[in-house]
Symmetry: C2
Subunit: 345 residues, 2 copies
Amino acid sequence: MEESTSERPRTLAEVAAAAGVSVPTVSRVINQRSDVAPATRERVQRVLTEHGYVVNHAGRSLRQGKSRQIDIISQDLDSYYAFQILRGIQDALLSTDVRAVLASTHDHRQREMQWIQRLADGSTDGAILILADRASLHLQELRRHAIPCVVVDPVAELGPNDLSVSSTNWSGAKAATEYLLSLGHRRIGALLGPSTVSATQTRLGGYRAALTEGGLPLDTSLIRYGDWQAEGAVLETRELLALADPPTAIFAGNDLQALGVYRTLRQHNVLVPDDMSVVGFDDLPYAALITPALTTVRQPLLEMGRVATNMLLRLMGGEQVDSVRVELATPLIVRESCAAPSGVR
Amino acid sequence: MEESTSERPRTLAEVAAAAGVSVPTVSRVINQRSDVAPATRERVQRVLTEHGYVVNHAGRSLRQGKSRQIDIISQDLDSYYAFQILRGIQDALLSTDVRAVLASTHDHRQREMQWIQRLADGSTDGAILILADRASLHLQELRRHAIPCVVVDPVAELGPNDLSVSSTNWSGAKAATEYLLSLGHRRIGALLGPSTVSATQTRLGGYRAALTEGGLPLDTSLIRYGDWQAEGAVLETRELLALADPPTAIFAGNDLQALGVYRTLRQHNVLVPDDMSVVGFDDLPYAALITPALTTVRQPLLEMGRVATNMLLRLMGGEQVDSVRVELATPLIVRESCAAPSGVR
DNA sequence: ACCTCTATTGAAAACGATTGCGAAAAATAG
DNA sequence: CTATTTTTCGCAATCGTTTTCAATAGAGGT
């Protein structure tokens, strides 16, 4: 199909020669400048497409100080969670000529330096930060260099000018709690993330709101702060089970923690959902596959990545982005892990 | 700490001026060339470090035709599997100044073109392909441009000169099967990947070898080809259960399929491991967390990514890489999903 | 002391694109 | 038909680095 004559023009000069015009003219055609006569443009364009010329990015970058690359920076690239976001970013980039560079530095001193340096020399046109907070070295450096960036799911409040994309943690938690209440649960354990993370507080707010609306008191002994990990959840679940008046349902901070809850309950011969209802958060792919299939609040991670990327692209294009803080909806996905409490009271 | 005087030298010229030498000399110092007098080198070096100068990558790239970037290309960036490899790659890159670019094109025509073009203009110094085969467009283009690349876990036989890193599928499968045999199982179902994938065939070989050594015949009705997905595994498990003489153990092609097996068994009220033993492949993080915890053959995915990257880096450095085909060990991780068959015969 | 050789260094030419500026050509006005 | 404006397009400079290449200075040999 594409048996282009093996000698593709490598430089503007070659194209220019072939089209009988000067180098700048070809450049103008490529960059869709207006000051080219229609006839000339057409002629150059033909040569361009026929020979399959491609611009040399190094040359362009050098001249323009732009790279058409964005950095993806994740605090911990070690969770399935971040991976989903990554996929969304890739998606959004598919129809552009922008490329994503994995730029996490993982507290590696030397690497952080390198990264900062790359910022200075125009190697980076923009960045997407996953789970960053305002104090993050990355965010600060990006601001210093005035490089556009968007934070996906910030862990703490950002500055007033920092763009972010997250999900409706509050209503997600509220919906989950309401659902459990509607099933008849009156004692609902909340096994959240670290108390310092804003998402945790927001979700706690949703949980509390649902309880209040349901006319129930807030029992702080039912609230546990975790570390987002399954191992931690094991301990916290044990604590909940050991309560004098243990909960009949557990709202886990994420699906990974829910996995830890499942595991612990099994060890204690507590059946899900018969003896204990469990709700997760995230809806990672395996949530539907474990048994019993996990009822969970879906975070549209893919979508979040996509939206953040589109915002960033607009920002990079110099457009004004009006919505500084975007929150995407978090539907409750009902599966098999919840039921009415067994000991009806 | 690093209150560098805000006017960091942006160019070699500025450094040169500050050090009282010429631009090329500074360049030579930076690139550790030998033809610089010790005294001069030391003087320049001081200016360099004191002012925190950093090379401009666009300039260097343009001149050298190298980018210090490698492409990561994955057939489907949509599995947790690939993500683990990605982490390994990141790890290996941490102590270098090479950056990883997500370059999967997902059969997106336009994007593939862009990618090929970037190959031509030196935007890519090397590539790591995940799950590619010899016929892959990417691999062919890379070869055409003589760009070094390494394939992680090739899905089909590669050319004689293609470097690859994979795992010992044969002995992994053999170990898993032997383990089941040692528990007393005599009918072991094999729920593999697509029959066209070489890993599938290799594992089948290991499975068969264990059977033969155990003096058991190969019952082809126990062998099912799947698609690596959990949904497919559901169907295939049903088929196995519907056999006149169903297996007492199932060896799944990967952990995701094992999840499907679990799910189906639960639906059919078949207890794991009491009524059916299950072995997985991969050892993804959730394997230890589901209940019962999955006994599985560990693929050192992280390590594979790391090894592949190191090979690539050496290749890019012009070193001769002797081991064309690297296989990493696949230990059997025994957890809770296997037991002696219940109906002792 | 002269010649040769080596170790250092800088001047200048790339690398491939974009852009400011001015000149020629064409269009418009008078 | 001339004067003025507008289009169109090329020259030359520039982005920041690396790489010849030649020049200089010093070392060593005889």
